[in-house]
Point group: C2
Chain length 198, copies 2
């Protein structure tokens, strides 16, 4: 079968994206190549813009073009309530629910023996600095109800117990075994407003 190496390489790269298998990667590559001016070049442009401008916020771990990020820099938001999430997708999901008016801490992962993600890999700097400075009135652990999420929540609770800061977790509404970023806004809003002190 004759497919030129450039097209093969493009298909292989696209097939690595979540949600795209080999077959849909082929369809996507064809769609791009058949309309290079209206599809391929604009997508390259959007990716270059993102690669050039989007950085990880040094304070909370969010992805944004500003540093610190728009949420950390927003004086309308309560800096004393920090919501701890696993990744930026979970942050986006919570932002879509529109209930949390405080700030975030993006861990970048959850504790997992299987994937070798340990306590030192958690992005905690911003959170710990603020807690140590006595600036925080509440830490909300908004982690998925998975084994890894629960382990991480437990570990964080221990870690934070030496400081005088209330720690809560999301309330009922998070389905067991469910990931945050696939939940609807209503469930997330309910889970947030029914959070409980630990």
């Amino acid at each position: 079968m004759h497919i030129s190496p450039e097209i093969e390489a493009l298909i292989a790269r696209l097939a690595r994206l979540p949600g795209l298998g080999p077959r849909s990667a082929r369809r996507a590559a064809l769609a791009l190549l058949q309309e290079p001016e209206s599809r391929l070049r604009p997508l390259i442009g959007a990716m270059q813009e993102a690669a050039r401008n989007i950085h990880t916020c040094p304070k909370c771990g969010n992805l944004d073009s500003l540093s610190p990020c728009t949420i950390c820099a927003d004086t309308q938001r309560d800096p004393t309530v920090i919501c701890v999430v696993e990744n930026v997708g979970d942050l986006w999901a919570l932002e879509r629910s529109g209930v949390h008016r405080g700030r975030y801490q993006v861990l970048g992962g959850v504790l997992s023996a299987l994937s070798g993600f340990g306590p030192d890999d958690l992005n905690l700097t911003g959170l710990l600095e603020q807690v140590q400075a006595g600036e925080v009135k509440e830490v909300i652990l908004a982690l998925g109800a998975t084994v890894e999420g629960a382990t991480t929540a437990h570990w964080l609770q221990e870690k934070l117990s030496s400081y005088d800061v209330p720690v809560s977790r999301l309330g009922h509404g998070v389905p067991i075994g469910g990931a945050l970023d696939v939940l609807d806004e209503g469930t997330l809003a309910a889970a947030l407003s029914s959070r409980r002190a630990l």
Copy 2:
């Protein structure tokens, strides 16, 4: 909700790819942004390579880095049998089957009143030149068994009838591995009328 415009633009561009909706585009964008060096930049590179090197073959309409394309330039392939397909995806599908050892003509679409795709939009130049030069022994119409595919096949058959060239179409029938009770009546009728003595 705070998502920076660069990320929004990237998600919007990704969501236009076939097979990706708004939700999977968001997941894909995040995966790219969270690993810019190992995912985003290599994908940009693969796209730039493809945009720079891949062109439409002036002879048959295939996408390739060579001009004419690898298939048109392959002297091992029979230049007297031309298989007419709607798009490059269909060409790839036929190449995967490995049965056709001739060349192709990629129409770039099929006749459709709805989408305003008319006879002048069909890429026929290479085919007609070769037919007029008397170089072709068979034209195989490998078009989809849809209303538009059948209309296009009929129109092409008329168009080619003024030249002394045999025209065939793909056989209709039961797909290999397919169960009878899930097939539509049209396919079963076609399979029955194209039955073969054993």
